[in-house]
Every structure is written in structure tokens, then in C-alpha cells.
């Protein structure tokens, strides 16, 4: 059994950590947090130069052609650094959708531009409240023209193109949904920035008014493609959440060692020790579930939907748990804008919703476990 990343992959993780420690300090994150820039352009450029944006994109489309395990280790570091760049929307959602369903021409047009950092992409799925579901898609597509409103769209205000889930039928089934590609610079859209929990990753509302779009994948296949994209993104986001959990745990541990109260290190009080031990437990369970997700993703295993849901739930819970208790360990200082704790708290809670909330993934997990048990 070799249920671990290879030495090369671990080396890549170290390389990513070193790069991000240098280029993505909390100070750099704060420029975006404080609204002084929509995202960290320099960092984005650097990530492209390091080959991180296209690590899982095949070489013929301008990527490094490495694979998803390599992308997982980079994702972990992006989460640990709380990187203020549109990595998840561009790389996990837009690029993966293109790799699953794109025509040769579509891949040639967009994937090399993603790998080189010239283009930011995203997925426009949600329309207000609610979880991913075909019936929640109201935006219509007729003869390649879209009309409707998507909200929230991750990184929508800085994206160059987006994948859009649109209604092309009214049978009440999954086959009513098709995916489209829209060049956001070509007109027919109105984009409005929205304030959100985590200002280091923007959210937007996009209104499509007689907007020209081209099909991505076959008509009526949209929902099936979309669930594949969401499963892949769930695993990759889980690695970001695992990285964030570990960082929040470390911050809490370091503070508990440093801070003196009642004449001793607060980390010597069992109430604090046990809180940190429980954070370690959550983070460890999340990491192990995510490794299984990584295996399923990298081998395109039939277990992917179940593994992705388990990784998603476990990592979401762990990051929320670690981020919240990190503030608690810090006491009052943890509740200041000045300390970095809230950046992880914000990111943890925003990420818990971005691909659909826990309720959605719990449903997915139980459905897949039932199918497996029945088989």
C-alpha cells in the first residue's frame, strides 16, 4: 500500500510553500482584504511562472501535464497561505469543466491562456439562495443566447470568461440543463461586485442580457458535466481547507505557547490543550479523507463521487472548527482586525458554502453510500 504522495509531489508541495511564504505573506493578503486591489496580480503572475496554474492541464494545451495529485499538493498550500487570487474558480472550476467537456477548439482557446495567467475563468451556477440543483437553474438559453441573472459568482468581477449553467428545456429533468461558455469581455453582460464574508476572494452578480454563448459539451448534458466538475472541485477545495486547518491550528498552538496568563503559558491549561487536541483530530480526519479523494480524482475511480463528498464534508467541518477555535485560543486579540485569525475564519466559512453547503454534500454522500451498499 502506498497511500501517500510521492517524494516528487512532496517536493512540489515544499516548493509551493516556499514560494507562497515569500510572495503571499499575511501582509500581502491584507492588501486585497482591505479592498485596495481586487486580487493579487503579482502573485497570479508568479503562480503562472511557477507552472502552478497549469499543473494539471495537458502539455498540448499549454500546461505542465503533471496531474491532479500535483494540483492537490499545490491546493493545500494555497489554502495554508490564504492566497487572495482566483485560483479555485479558474483552475478547479473553469479549467476542469473545459478539460471534461470542451471541444478541441475551446480547449485551445482557453486552457493555454489559463496556464499562462492571462485569463481568469469561473463558473456561474447559483441564482440566489439554494444548493446545486437543476430546478434552481432559471437562466435560459435559446439559440445560443442567454438571459438571466447569476449570483453569487466567485471572482465574477475579475473573470474574463465563465462557464454558465443554463436551462434549455422544461421537462423537469436533469436533461434540461446545458452548459455554455461566455466571453465576459464580449458584451451582453452586466457585472456587479458583491460584498461577501471573505473579501480576499470576490463574489459578483452577473446579468446576462441577450448574451451570445457557445455550448460547452452536448446540449442536455450540462448537469452530468456539472456534477463531475463539482466532485473534482470538492476534492481540490478540500485540500485548500486542509491547508487552512493546519495553519489555523499552528497559529493557535504558537499563540498558546507564547501567551502568558496567570503566570504561565496558556498552552499549559488543559482547557486550551484539549481544544487544540480536538482541532488536531479534526484536521487529521480531514487530511485522511482528502487523500482518499485525491486517489479517486487522480485515478478517475468510480468511487470519486463518494470520496469527494466525504472529503468535502470532513474538510469543511475541520476548517470551520480550527478557524473558530483559533480565535478562541487567541482570546480578545483574536477578535481584532489586526490579528490574522479572522482571515481564516472568513475563508473557512465562505468556502463551506461555495460549492454548495454541507446539506448538499451530505445528501450526495448518503446517496452514494446507499448505492454502494445496495450493490
Amino acid at each position: 500500500m502506498n497511500f501517500d504522495f510521492s517524494d516528487d509531489q512532496k517536493q512540489l508541495r515544499d516548493q509551493a510553500r516556499k514560494f507562497l511564504t515569500e510572495k503571499c505573506s499575511p501582509k500581502a493578503v491584507r492588501i486585497v482584504l482591505d479592498g485596495k486591489a481586487p486580487y493579487d496580480k503579482e502573485l497570479w503572475k508568479g503562480l503562472a511562472e511557477m507552472g502552478f496554474l497549469g499543473v494539471a492541464i495537458p502539455e498540448e494545451f499549454g500546461g505542465a501535464g503533471a496531474g491532479h495529485l500535483e494540483l492537490c499538493v499545490i491546493a493545500e498550500e494555497m489554502g495554508r497561505a490564504n492566497a487572495p487570487v482566483p485560483f479555485s474558480s479558474t483552475v478547479y472550476l473553469a479549467a476542469e469543466a473545459l478539460m471534461i467537456a470542451g471541444s478541441d477548439a475551446q480547449k485551445k482557446k482557453w486552457l493555454p491562456a489559463i496556464a499562462s495567467g492571462e485569463t481568469i475563468g469561473t463558473l456561474a451556477l447559483f441564482e440566489g439562495k439554494g444548493n446545486p440543483s437543476p430546478k434552481n437553474v432559471k437562466l435560459t438559453a435559446a439559440n445560443g443566447v442567454l438571459n438571466g441573472v447569476k449570483k453569487p459568482v466567485a471572482d465574477g468581477a475579475i473573470a474574463d470568461f465563465t462557464v454558465v449553467a443554463a436551462r434549455t428545456g422544461s421537462s423537469g429533468r436533469e436533461g434540461d440543463i446545458s452548459l455554455f461558455l461566455v466571453d465576459l469581455k464580449a458584451g451582453g453582460v452586466e457585472v456587479k461586485s458583491l460584498t461577501n464574508l471573505d473579501p480576499t476572494r470576490g463574489q459578483a452578480e452577473i446579468t446576462f442580457k441577450d448574451c451570445k454563448a457557445e455550448l460547452l459539451g452536448a446540449a442536455g448534458e450540462g448537469w452530468s458535466i456539472l456534477t463531475q466538475v463539482l466532485d473534482r472541485a470538492a476534492v481540490l477545495c478540500a485540500f485548500e481547507q486542509v491547508g487552512g486547518s493546519d495553519r489555523a491550528l499552528e497559529m493557535g498552538r504558537d499563540y498558546a505557547l507564547d501567551r502568558i496568563a496567570f503566570g504561565r503559558q496558556i498552552g499549559s491549561f488543559q482547557a486550551v490543550k484539549h481544544m487544540l487536541a480536538d482541532m488536531y483530530v479534526s484536521a487529521t480526519l480531514a487530511r485522511s479523507n482528502s487523500y482518499y479523494g485525491a486517489w479517486a480524482l487522480s485515478t478517475n475511480a468510480g468511487e470519486l463521487p463518494e470520496a469527494a463528498a466525504a472529503a468535502r464534508i470532513s474538510a469543511t467541518q475541520a476548517f470551520q472548527h480550527c478557524a473558530k477555535n483559533n480565535i478562541q485560543v487567541h482570546g480578545g486579540m483574536g477578535f481584532t482586525w489586526e490579528f490574522d485569525c479572522h482571515m481564516y475564519y472568513r475563508r473557512a466559512n465562505a468556502m463551506a458554502l461555495g460549492l454548495g453547503s454541507l446539506t448538499y454534500w451530505e445528501d450526495q454522500l448518503i446517496d452514494h453510500m446507499r448505492k454502494k451498499n445496495a450493490a
Binding site: 502506498n2 501517500d4 491550528l249 486550551v272
Partner: protein, 414 residues
Amino acid sequence: MNFDDTPQEAAFRETARKWVEANAPKELHAELSKSSLGRIRLANHDIVDVGKAWQKKKFEGNWACLHWPKEYGGRDATPIEKVIWQQEEGVYGKLTQPFQIGEGMCGPTVMAWGSEDAKRLHLPKLAAGEEIWCQLFSEPSAGSDVAGLRTRAEKKGENWVVNGQKIWTSGAHYSDFGLLIARTDPNVPKHKGLTMFFLDMRSPGVEVRPIKQANGMQEFNEVYFTDVVIPDSQRLGAVGEGWSVSLTTLMNERMSIGSRLATGVPELFDFCANLMLEDGLAIDDPAVRSKLASWAVKSSGLKYTSYRAISALSKGERPGPENSIGKLVSGMMLQDIATYAMDLQGAAGALTGTDEETVQGQFQQMLLSSPSMRIAGGTDEILRNIIAERVLGLPGDIRVDKDVPYNKIPTKGR
């Protein structure tokens, strides 16, 4: 990343599988598969008898205590080979329950600290199932704080004379030998006045009394010592070195990698998939699904955590500290899951018979037994301390009794 054996591991697995296939008591397979929570129920057999027979067969086939050196009855197997053996032994491994403390704790302690004579005399017999060993550490006033123990051993000529009481001793009633830690010097701080011995459990003055537990069962014992004589040749380690010796034992207790701990998740899933509530199957209820999913990911998290440890062993590396979470997570889960399943059963959930409504009372049994899972082998609180101190590097507790002579420490409680 893959779940495959290396060619060597595959060959070893094949050999083990064939041997189990040819030698295991297949007539017990169904009953053993149903036994959960570490409790073996065999209708027509005594677990000690069938356990001894299986252990003897394994010993003759060279599969008993396989990670031990050959000269002491093992086969010099690597840690990953031991894991593979456990996987292949499967449910029959439950038969070796009476030997687990000997194999996992007492044997390794004798191996590390015993004289060559003691090792050659006892270890092969332990491996062969001819000797069952128990561990005599906990006392009424020394549980988590085991170094606070009171049982006295006093030197009289070439012998030691022991007086005192131990508690929570699994298998003392059928054990041949016991590993005993006792206080030999009450005038020095508590960790420094301890010494380790082993003794024949049939020595005059040893009295074993079963404990009736909170769940109504009797699995543990109290052991009383009245002027019990132990020859000095049965001392393990130097006089006053008992605490260091005990750490060997306890470290081995926590090193059991690859052994799957019961979580209750498969039982709960099965129960919810078949339980009809007013509005349909329980598993279609959003609240039930949410609970199930949260527990399922903890259970899968534990499974893949152990896979990570096995992978480290396979590469010849030491597994990381992540394995220390196993008992902490599974113990709490069992209790919570039992409570929840009973809640779904409504008023009938209070029945503990073999009623149809409660699926033969399996969750009721789980509820009543689960508190012990959170206490035995390190309480949840001690395990959290261990994670906090050894994994996260947080300071140890302030110990007010650390430098005080043992006989000056105030004591109360049981």
C-alpha cells in the same frame, strides 16, 4: 498513490491467506463476524479454550507473535507483514483476545527488560498460548495517575513480599502470569519508587475477584495481594526503575496499528436504511442523513488515517503521530451513535431485550458498554493531553506532587 501490495507483500499475503484458509476454524466464522465491541459471543464454546487451540495452531504454523524474534517463538516478521497477517487472519483474530495483553504488552516488556532465561522460558510459551498473561497496573487510587499506585513490595532476603490491590485487570481469572508494578520505596517522589515484576498468578496470597460492571457484565477483576512472595529473579529492570519499564508496556499498547476500532457507523447505516418512520425511511429524512454523514466521514477518516500509517510501515518508515486519534474518536462515536439510534426508536428504545423494534437491543448494549471505551487504555482526557503534549508540543501539566516524597502526598478517592 495506490492501495496495492508490493510484490513481496503480495507473496507474503498469499502465503498467509492459504494458511488461514487451510487451518482456520471455519465453523465459528459466522458467530465471530457478528461479535462487535470487542465482545465475543460463542454459543457452544469457551473463548479461552478455542482461543488456546487457535493460538497453538498458529504457533505450530509459525504465525503466532510473528513480529517477535525467531528464538522467542516469532518469525522475525516486519511491521507491515504483521499488518498483512492481521488482515488475512480477519475475524479469527478475535479468538486471540485472551492473548492480546500478553502479546501486545507483557511480552514486549519481558523482551525489553527480562533476563535471557526469563525470555527463553516464557516468551515461546506466551506465543504458543500455553501461558496467558495479564497486566497489573491500575489501582483504585491510581488510574490515569498510575504512578500514584500504593501496592507495596518489600525486600525480604532474596525475595519480595507484596501487599496491596489492583483493579481493572482483564483476564486475571484465567491468566497464568501477571506483569506487576509495585511501590518499593515510599520515601522518594512517586515516579522514582516503583519496580516492575512478573509473578505466577497461582502464587499463595493472590486472590482474584470479578467486578460487576455498570453494564451488568463481568469482564474485569480486582486482584488482591496478601504477603505474596516473588523471587528477585522475576524483577524486570532495576529497583526504582519501574516507571521507565512501564512506559515500554504502555507504548506498545498504543502502537497497535491497523487494528480496526469499532465506530458503530455500519450498524447505524444499516439500521437507518431499514427503519420506517412516520414519513418514510429514516435514511430519507434530512436530519438523519446529516447525522449519518457526519459520523460516516469520521469513520472513513479513521480508516484512511490507518492506511496512511500502514503505508509508512510499508516504506519502512515509522508511522506519524496521527494514529493516536483512533480510540479518542471511535469511543465518543460509539456512545453518540448508540444514543441517537435509540432516540430514533422512540419509547421502545428503552427496552434492552431481544425486541424486534430495537434490532435485538444492539444499540442498547452499545450504549451501556461504550463508557468503558472512553476510559480503558487511556481516558479521552489523557489521550488529549498526549496529543497536546507529544504531537503539538504544548507544555506538560503542572504537577504539584512531582518532587514530593510519595508518603507526603495527600491522597483520597478511588
